[in-house]
């Protein structure tokens, strides 16, 4: 294992063998130096020179010497080429402590004890023994050279605050320009001034059609429809363009277009990635929220606050919850064991903070996971302070009512409807019920079998996996329908009797069954393989937990050898109780619970009867329960349940000083009485009917962030860790905790050191209830926090997308390593405008796209080309290639098949004619058509997409069924719109139609001629029938889609 230099990216736990990872607190080095042999003997020096120095020189100096330092190859800040260096040690402490083998890290390394040096292989045991001897003798070392100074970078926060993008916002005035009349707003003055300085003149304004196509794609991601185009071209008013811009900014397609840009920067995905790549069906709510927020021009600071802490700012609110999908959109491992839960948690936090850094702050904060940032003033401490703010945030699928106002409205209406019914019920309960109960009890008394040890169980529900179970008089449950066996019957009962000790199952003859019962087999056979009884409380209470008693066979009427009743209770589905050869004969069996069951407030009894291993079930059956200590009787009649239950409920109520005036008591009594008393039944039914209509909100599963412990659920196991504490990890490694991390921020981006506490406090200076709220404040606060930086980053992003390159060409990095700004004052001016305009992004869009700069043509001037070939000064407009999403959307739009439905999940099929932003982003299944056109992988924030030109794009345009289908639709649309008879040639008007739909302009005469020739040739080959005409025009449309002009916008 080689000794690595400080990595600049997170690699937690990777090296087990670095000096740097040893406890940095070992500071015995200096003490050790003092104890070193003051004046070594010549023999000791000789020992060093012969046994030690050569080994150090050969195996260690390459990475741990002044020379290595000069060569930039020094590792772990450790120098072993001087005595002082050995004593001082490296990042982990002293390398050699004289006379102390235990504390001498060098020796441990040589022994490959925990970490391993030299990396190429362990040195021979004799050599290591020499080092032990040498340390024991006091580490005599004649190398007196002064210690080389290692530049151990410490962050100068004050100086860091002077970095241009970290400073507070400063007012900027637009420069004076010589050329009058060109500038349409102040932005143009910044641009023009630079051009004048360079001796370049801007290109003239683009043609109206060109401008329309540009601004349509730019603001909506779609081409203008022929009608829209015509309306704009026909509008001769001086503010025609401004009106168009306003209309496009107000269109719903604006949000769809610009949301996609934002989704790139936040590595948005709808699945978990890694192994399994589990779907996150609720993840699209975040995307929908972004679209909505951008369309509504939600102030950008609010936009950020919601994404970081929406769940805390507006708990339960759909939009605010959906917004927090931002934090948890990253890829997470799907397979987790106890060993990986902690590293995965730190990786999650890293994903959150790195995304936050890149997307909002334009900084590579992830680089500070293991050590101070190498170039930017971002401390290791800052990184952990930031993730401490996020320490409680975990992912969840929140059940959210997207429209609580409607829900409340519906509920109010329902309550109004319910009120008279509830009142009538109340009246019945008070005035009529007591008398009715008394009368019924008196009438029922003769039916009661006072001394029966069995209570007949009246089924509340009965259903089977296959058969249909129906209740017959006398508590009998009868099976019909699919009587094919291999079934499970589930029956539930309510009772207030307790303690229950036993159950009796009667398997009853059934004349209608194939074999006359009791089983559903042809010979009346059955095999009951498993019985499971569960008792749950009817009224929940902390001390009332559902129980599943163990069951024991007590008595049975008949059982076959090897198929005893006990076999149904042994938990083995392969064995069971059977009575073969006794068709039409009733059977019964009694089982006892290992512990009596029953709850105060009543018991819900669930009895599961399984007939597994393809064996037949029971045709008719009946269950009874007992409270007797030993219930064994197989044959005696059971007491009807209702009377006993009413008595039990009333007894219990009386004991608690309650009576029928109590609603729960009355309801439970009425439940039983209703089976015999029609008036009571109606009263109960009326209330039940209205209660059943209680409006329930349609809850959406929203994948979002919430505060909780670390619960990491994988497909195979869920692993939970109660801790929410975040520790500072030395070098980013889980094994090297350096104490709890306190919430805080990147110090260089806040106004002053004390701003950290201000941002973590509310208006009254008390600490905020959650540091994530502080983080939200930090990101957006202009006077104290990093608001100025956030403003600069976002206006630069807008500029990047409008012009194809940002004022800073690295939109995710406005740090010292990012590209220098081409127009720094303009960037500052725009950031100021954004804040002044209450963070309205649309106001900035409008400013930018209405400039003369934006409206230039692509005309190339010789001076421009000579003096600024990269067009950094924006002296003309370069054609830009559409993103994959826009190419796909443009195909759908031109072909007239685009479905403009908004929101939701459109799936993974490229052919679904929804806008591309709605297609699923499944990390393991990128949409081929989009991927080939540079759609970035949704794993890291992307600020500027690559634009590659590869043959697979051409193959997709030439041969993919998707593009062909679009061509076909456009051809059909042309012929239908122009009312061309089926067998007639398409003609030049059809070419013009298709051309305009795809390219927003009419073809030139030569172009029209060329396409007409192609069309004629194809019509000749394809034949003159309707299909042939259609196919020929489809070929023309297909070729138009393949033109560079279709995917490059001027």
């Amino acid at each position: 294992m080689q000794n690595r230099s400080a990595p600049s990216m997170p690699r937690p736990g990777q090296g087990r063998a670095r000096f740097g990872i040893l406890a940095a607190g070992l500071s015995l080095g200096l003490l050790g130096a003092a104890q070193a042999v003051a004046s070594p003997t010549p023999e000791q020096i000789a020992f060093f020179e012969t046994k030690i120095r050569p080994v150090l020189a050969q195996h260690c100096y390459q990475c741990h010497s002044a020379e290595a330092l000069r060569a930039g190859k020094l590792k772990a800040s450790l120098l072993v080429d001087s005595r002082a260096g050995m004593a001082k040690g490296g990042e982990s402490g002293a390398a050699v402590v004289p006379k102390n083998k235990e504390e001498s890290l060098l020796l441990a390394a040589l022994k490959y004890d925990g970490f391993e040096m030299p990396p190429a292989g362990k040195l021979p045991d004799e050599v290591i023994a020499d080092f032990e001897t040498w340390i024991d003798m006091g580490a005599p070392d004649p190398r007196d050279e002064p210690l080389a100074t290692i530049d151990e970078r410490t962050i100068d926060v004050e100086q860091g605050r002077q970095h241009w993008s970290y400073r507070r916002l400063a007012p900027v005035s637009p420069p004076e320009v010589k050329t009058a009349g060109w500038a349409k707003n102040d932005i143009d003055r910044f641009i023009l001034a630079k051009q004048e300085e360079a001796g370049i003149t801007p290109a003239p304004e683009a043609a109206k059609a060109t401008l329309a196509r540009r601004v349509f794609f730019d603001l909506t991601g779609l081409p203008p429809s022929p009608d829209e185009l015509k309306a704009f071209l026909d509008d001769a008013s001086p503010d025609a363009y401004d009106k168009l811009v306003d209309r496009l900014l107000a269109s719903p397609q604006f949000g769809e277009r610009w949301a996609r840009h934002w989704l790139d920067t936040v590595r948005f995905g709808e699945s978990s990635g890694y192994e399994f790549d589990g779907d996150r069906p609720g993840a699209h709510h975040y995307r929908d929220w972004v679209i909505k927020a951008l369309n509504a021009d939600l102030p950008y600071d609010e936009f950020l606050r919601m994404q970081v802490a929406g769940d805390l700012i507006k708990p339960g609110d759909y939009d605010a919850t959906a917004a927090t999908g931002f934090l948890v959109a990253g890829p997470y491992p799907g397979q987790v064991t106890a060993k990986t839960v902690e590293p995965i948690r730190y990786d999650q936090l890293d994903d959150m903070v790195a995304t936050l850094g890149s997307s909002v702050l334009g900084m590579t904060i992830g680089c500070a996971r293991c050590h101070d940032h190498k170039y930017d003033p971002i401390g290791h401490r800052d990184y952990y302070a930031m993730i401490a703010c996020l320490g409680k945030a975990v992912q969840r699928d929140a059940d959210i009512d997207p429209d609580p106002a409607t829900t409340k409205q519906k509920r109010d209406a329902w309550l109004a409807e319910r009120a008279p019914i509830a009142a009538a019920h109340e009246r019945f309960r008070r005035e009529e019920l007591p008398g009715r109960i008394a009368r019924w009890l008196a009438a029922d008394a003769p039916r009661q079998v006072a001394d029966s040890m069995w209570l007949g169980l009246d089924p509340q529900t009965a259903h089977a996996a296959k058969a249909t179970l129906l209740e017959e008089p006398g508590d009998v449950v009868a099976a019909s329908g699919r009587l094919e066996g291999d079934d499970t019957y589930t029956l539930t009962f309510r009772t207030h009797q307790k303690p229950l000790t036993a159950l009796r199952l009667e398997a009853l003859a059934s004349p209608s069954a194939p074999g006359g019962g009791p089983g559903t087999g042809k010979d009346g056979g059955f095999r009951l393989s498993t019985v499971k009884v569960t008792a749950a409380p009817l009224v929940a209470a902390p001390d009332r937990k559902p129980v599943t008693p163990k069951l024991a066979a007590v008595a049975v009427t008949s059982e076959d050898v090897g198929f005893e009743f006990a076999k149904a209770l042994d938990g083995d589905g392969a064995t069971g109780w059977a009575t073969v050869g006794q068709p039409g004969k009733d059977q019964a069996a009694v089982l006892a619970f290992d512990k009596p069951i029953g709850f105060d407030g009543g018991t819900l009894l669930t009895v599961e009867l399984k007939f597994e291993a393809k064996q037949h079930g029971l045709a008719r059956l009946r269950l009874a329960a007992s409270t007797h200590a030993t219930a064994t009787d197989l044959a005696s009649a059971a007491a009807p349940q209702a009377g006993r239950e009413i008595a039990a409920v009333l007894d219990t109520a009386r004991a608690m000083g309650r009576n029928l005036a109590d609603e729960t008591v009355a309801q439970e009594v009425m439940r039983w009485l209703a089976r015999f008393d029609a008036v009571a039944a109606k009263a109960a039914a009326d209330l039940a009917a209205i209660d059943a209509k209680e409006p329930k909100p349609t809850l959406l599963k929203v994948y979002a962030a919430t505060n909780g412990g670390w619960v990491i659920t994988g497909n195979s196991q869920a692993v939970r860790s109660g801790s929410q504490d975040v520790f500072v990890l030395a070098r980013g490694e889980g094994g090297r905790k350096k104490g709890k991390a306190a919430p805080g921020f990147v110090l260089a981006t806040i106004a002053a050191d004390d701003a950290e506490q201000k941002l973590l406090s509310g208006p009254d200076a008390t600490p905020l209830p959650d540091s994530r709220l502080g983080l939200a404040a930090f990101l957006t606060d202009v006077s104290q926090g990093s608001g100025p930086l956030a403003a600069r980053v976002i206006v630069n992003r807008l500029w990047h997308h409008h012009f194809g390159r940002g004022i800073v060409a690295t939109p995710n990095d406005l740090g010292t390593q990012g590209d220098p700004a081409t127009h720094p004052e303009l960037l500052e001016w725009l950031a100021n405008r954004l804040v002044e305009n209450r963070w309205s992004l649309k106001s900035i869009h409008r400013l930018i796209v209405t400039t003369a700069t934006y409206r230039q043509s692509g005309a190339v001037s010789e001076t421009g080309q000579a003096k600024d070939p990269d067009n950094k000064l924006l002296w003309h407009r370069k054609p830009t290639r559409l993103e994959g999403e826009s190419i796909r959307d443009a195909l759908l739009a031109a072909s007239g098949t685009l479905d403009s439905k908004m929101y939701g999940r459109a799936g993974l099929d490229v052919k679904v004619p929804r806008r591309s932003v709605y297609l699923n982003v499944k990390r393991s299944e990128p949409i081929g058509f989009l991927q080939v056109f540079d759609q970035p992988e949704p794993v890291q924030p992307v600020g500027a997409r690559g634009v590659a030109t590869v043959p697979t794009q051409a193959l997709a345009m030439m041969n993919s069924p998707f593009v062909r289908a679009a061509a076909e639709s456009l051809a059909k649309r042309a012929r239908t719109t122009l009312a061309i008879p089926p067998a007639a040639a398409s003609g030049e008007t059809a070419i013009d139609f298709c051309f305009t739909a795809a390219l927003s302009r009419q073809p030139s005469d030569t172009e029209r001629d060329k396409f007409a020739q192609l069309l004629a040739a194809r019509e000749q080959t394809a034949g003159g029938d309707a299909a042939g005409r259609q196919a020929a025009l489809t070929d023309v449309c297909h070729l138009i889609f393949c033109l560079n002009e279709f995917v490059y916008v001027d």
Partner: protein, 484 residues
């Protein structure tokens, strides 16, 4: 290098030149660079990074084929014979470390259930899983001391391919394409073959933050169509398409002439020509019907136990001959599907014997055939073959007969392409549990592989999010001992 690809290149390159001339495009060298797919090569784009021209030194290997034993074979049941482990089955494993596996292991030694013998003049110990490959041990260069960090399949596969155990980083094939460009003119240079996708899916062979032009072409053995959009649509012929493409080129050339500052327009024109050629070249390249019966028999393309991998290996050889530079085959499910999920066939958690036996049958013969075939064609000298999984397995048992994941020590071997034949490097402890001698980290392996391909791993960089990235991140030492 066989004659085939360069011949195609020679035939087509002048044709393209004249096409461009005829089309009236004045872009010259620029267009040619993009024709060769080199517009984003290390030397020209992200130019800040590439200090020296590539290759940095004469390469010993021109192409790589990586036989990825998905699911992770056990080192102590394949190539790393440990008599001590065999002798102490059931006894406590010295140094057993509960942090090594992914699940829970017993801490007790599990002897390899296979029969071991020495092979070749190198006397290499091989288990009887590999009756065919064992005949080639004298061509193999073993690293017995591989280790990495991740202890689950997807992260480890990403680590082995990209140096990082998380998604989003470019894999080695993409780095090579970025660094060295293409050796052919009608095929991609980075190809991945799989059946069921390995755990971690496309993220394993991702181009990460590199331009998308460097992404792999993935050939899914389960799909009837190997490459998307290659087939002409019904009713179209190459001739009719040619006529339309000529019109397209002419129109595009007029469009481009008016927009001289956008160089990509010319690249896009040529991309249609390249696509046109791919339509014929790619199906030809993967058409196994052109291979002799003898060759099919050698690889075992009819053997139900190994036919999937056999066809993949044979296809790979054809692609290598045609100038594809980097191919990875992810061994798919074994025929019996024993003991493991399809996407991690070698994952013998339950029963190492039955699982590895099936995986051996599924891969041994084709892999050996590939070595023999490459050698017979003179391609092995400059083709590097790599065999290995994403990590090793524990020397102690899991659930009695299985073995858990073990990233602490495992074996891979290489052959051809400038590595020492019949050579063993590094070792694990006497139980095969952890690499102890001459340990080789993934970064070291990558540094060495890049070196063999003529690249200084510290010089091949790409600037992304404010930092220059390397395949070897901040580590990696070339292991010269491995190089012939």
């Amino acid at each position: 290098m066989s004659g085939m690809p360069s011949r195609i290149g020679e035939l087509l390159l002048p044709a393209r030149r004249s096409f461009l001339r005829d089309a009236g495009l004045g872009f010259g060298g620029l267009a040619l660079a993009s024709l060769l797919g080199e517009e984003s090569r290390a030397n020209t784009v992200g130019g800040v990074s590439a200090a020296r021209s590539l290759p940095h030194h004469p390469p010993k290997a021109k192409r790589v084929i990586w036989l990825f034993m998905t699911g992770a074979p056990s080192q102590v049941d394949t190539w790393d014979y440990k008599p001590e482990l065999q002798a102490r089955s059931g006894q406590p494993l010295p140094g057993a470390d509960s942090q090594v596996g992914f699940f829970q292991t017993s801490g007790k030694c599990l002897a390899s259930p296979f029969t071991w013998a020495q092979h070749g003049s190198s006397g290499t110990w091989v288990s009887d899983l590999f009756p065919h490959l064992s005949k080639h041990v004298d061509d193999m260069c073993f690293i017995h001391s591989m280790h990495l960090r991740a202890n689950n399949h997807a992260p480890a596969a990403m680590e082995l391919m990209s140096g990082f155990s998380r998604p989003g980083m470019p894999s080695m094939g993409a780095w090579l394409d970025y660094g060295l460009g293409s050796m052919n003119h009608d095929l991609p240079s980075f190809v991945v073959m799989h059946e069921r996708k390995p755990r971690g899916d496309d993220q394993i062979w991702s181009a990460g933050f590199l331009p998308k032009s460097h992404q792999a072409l993935a050939i899914d053995a389960r799909r009837p169509v190997a490459i998307d959009n290659l087939a002409l649509r019904t009713g179209h012929t190459l001739d009719s398409q040619r006529a339309q493409l000529d019109l397209l080129a002419a129109l595009n050339a007029e469009h481009a002439a008016l927009r001289p500052t956008q160089a990509d327009l010319a690249a896009r024109i040529s991309s249609f020509e390249l696509a046109y050629r791919m339509q014929t070249a790619a199906p030809e390249a993967i058409d196994l019907a052109q291979e002799s019966k003898l060759t099919h028999e050698l690889y075992g393309t009819e053997d139900p136990k190994c036919k999937v991998f056999a066809k993949q290996c044979l296809t790979a050889r054809r692609l290598l001959e045609r100038g594809v530079r980097f191919i990875q085959i992810f061994a798919g499910r074994n025929a019996a599907g024993d003991g493991a999920v399809d996407d991690v066939p070698w994952d013998g958690h339950n029963n190492i014997e039955t699982n590895h036996r099936e995986c051996g049958l599924a891969t041994d013969r084709p892999a050996a055939a590939l070595l023999a075939d490459l050698k017979a064609r003179g391609l092995l000298d400059d083709t590097l073959v790599i065999w290995g999984g994403e990590f090793g397995r524990t020397s102690d048992s899991q659930g009695g007969k299985g073995r858990d994941h073990n990233p602490g020590g495992f074996t891979i071997w290489m052959a051809g392409g400038g590595v020492k034949p019949g050579y063993h490097y590094g070792s694990t402890d006497p139980f095969g549990y952890k690499a102890v001698e001459n340990k080789v980290h993934v970064n070291d392996l990558h540094a060495t592989l890049l070196h063999l391909l003529g690249i200084d791993h510290e010089q091949l960089t790409y600037r992304h999010n404010g930092r220059n990235f390397r395949l070897t991140d901040v580590g990696g030492h070339v292991i010269h001992d491995l190089i012939a």
